[in-house]
Amino acid sequence: MNHPWTGPRLARVALLLAVAVFGPAAGPRSGFETMSPELRAMQQDDLANPGMLHVAEGEAQFQQQGCTACHSAEAMQGVAARYPAFDAARDGPIDLAGRIAQCREERQGRAPLPREGKEMLALSVFVAHQSRGLPLTPNPDPRMEFVRRQGEALFRERRGQLNLSCGQCHDDNAGRRLAGSLIPEGHANGYPLYRLEWQGLGSLQRRLRNCMVGVRSEPFAPGAAEYIALEAFLAERARGLVVETPAVRP
């Protein structure tokens, strides 16, 4: 098994520079800030950011799949910044990919798309990209409060053969090095994103699975309620950071 945190890494002097120049920042810090200058430049240049190809693919899908019958791209602005949301129909929380699947399956009567497949990722990255630059404003629906608390409990719970919680890395040890990897604060403000290690676009759930497998824990099934609860808590924890989709990460 290829351990997700080993293997060569690009040099990362960005954190040191940022701290030297700006002093310790208050509030949440995006993983963007602790990346190397090269990767930051790649993310910020739409011609160099490989995620933008998927955004273009998603734009085409948005039309081909008939989404434009009911939605405009403009109407998607700000949506990703307030997801996950509470869905009355299923009486539970729903993430962006879940909402897109709901539109497709229930409103269009079409066959489900694989959650991590190319088309769903393209649609999700296109929709989320419409919120790029907008601050995360977690869903104010009071029914989400319970979901966030569940997510926080999952974040603080130790798991796996290595017996580590998310918080032990992303709260207690952020900024330190796990072998070659700088531990980011673990914010989910850039998904779906292009990860060099994946050599492709990937979802937040894929990222979370990587972190779970890294501590030798059994990941939750794709689409499981636990991921949505974790995502809801992560959004609260990152309140105020701007959406970067499609971000680039090592």
Binding site: R9, Q161, R216
Partner: protein, 142 residues
Amino acid sequence: MRAFLAAALLCLDGAAFAQNVPVVGDAIPASLTGMPGDPARGRAIVLDRQRGLCLLCHSGPFPEERFQGDLAPSLAGAGTRWSEGQLRLRMVDGRRLNPDTIMPSYFSTEGLRRVGRAWQGRTVLTAEEIEDVVAFLVTLRD
């Protein structure tokens, strides 16, 4: 904390060692296998990022190794600071020394949750491997 650890029996659940091993104070004085470990094999385990995982968190006197972690103290001088028995308890179940430690318990599955299928019922290292690592750690002198 350590002062409160009276002589106790630690229930070990490594596959071949469903038996009790005496914890004396903050140490396990006796070898888990009854045999001394092999420091050369121990060194290989410590440096192996899939087996020992030590360098995820620790650095150490291994100049040839790139990408050492900084979540934990350097292993340099561990054999000066700690006795063999203390190092053994630290390896077997560091929670006995510090319940909040992030260091994995290498020879205990007690209290673990949602362990991945491939790892279920298995300790991170075997008793033999623990002895090899301990034998290596005692050689790390300042």
